[in-house]
């Protein structure tokens, strides 16, 4: 959450991992000109309020790329060892929902 109370793009995208993922060192920026669907730009502006459009899109792309990389990792693991069994999903979900 920003000081103005606006949601960051990463928060707005999923709210997941927000404080950890936002705290990496600020990398060098490059100014580019890109063309996006107007409906998409309007939706991002509306969703994130007055927050800078570049910052919102930058964070959304970080989240999207992280998801792509994780999907690659899972695909590679499944290609090597096969998909996880239904029992494995049951075990991990049971541990997540376990009461303290």
């Amino acid at each position: 959450m920003t000081g103005s109370g606006k949601k960051s793009a990463a928060e707005g995208a999923s709210g997941r991992g927000r404080n950890v993922l936002a705290q990496a060192a600020v990398p060098e920026k490059e100014k580019i000109s890109i063309t996006l669907d107007k409906t998409l730009v309007d939706e991002i502006r509306a969703h994130f309020g007055g927050r800078a459009l570049s910052a919102s899109i930058n964070e959304l792309l970080h989240v999207a790329l992280a998801q792509e990389r994780l999907a690659e990792l899972v695909s590679q693991m499944e290609a090597e060892a096969g998909p996880a069994s239904p029992e494995a999903y049951d075990r991990v979900l049971a541990q997540w929902f376990e009461a303290r």
């Binding site: 999923s14 997941r16 990792l73 069994s85 494995a88 929902f97």
Partner: protein
Amino acid sequence: MVRGAVKKVPLAPWPAVVLDSGGLWAVARNDDDDARAVLAASSRAGVPVIVPAAVLADTLFGDERDARANQVLKRIKVAPVTDAIARSAAKLKRLAGMTGVAATIDALVVATAQAAGGGVVLTSDPGDIRALADGVTDTRIRPVRVS
């Protein structure tokens, strides 16, 4: 996959996945069914998979033995140990009555999960993670055991 079989991957209900040393190596070795389940469900739900930078110092060898771990690290988020996370870890360690370097690394793992809004900690030592997570009251953190 067997032809005609339907692969059903549930959506992860947790907000994040944090790996400790055992979790990182379970993913790198790719010999643990439960680790694959956590990552597949997380990928389907768009959940980030995070390893605290301090875990790398504890886990890696700094030579060619790290090759498989390095392949994993290219595809997940390495989170810095910030001032806030370090302070949270110190508090969690005190609350759990734990001391020592191993406890410090575990506490940084749990504090990172807390900063991420809660989540699953993939670990080979769920007892210590659970003891530290007991000090977290604002989010749900649960260890998932890997071999």
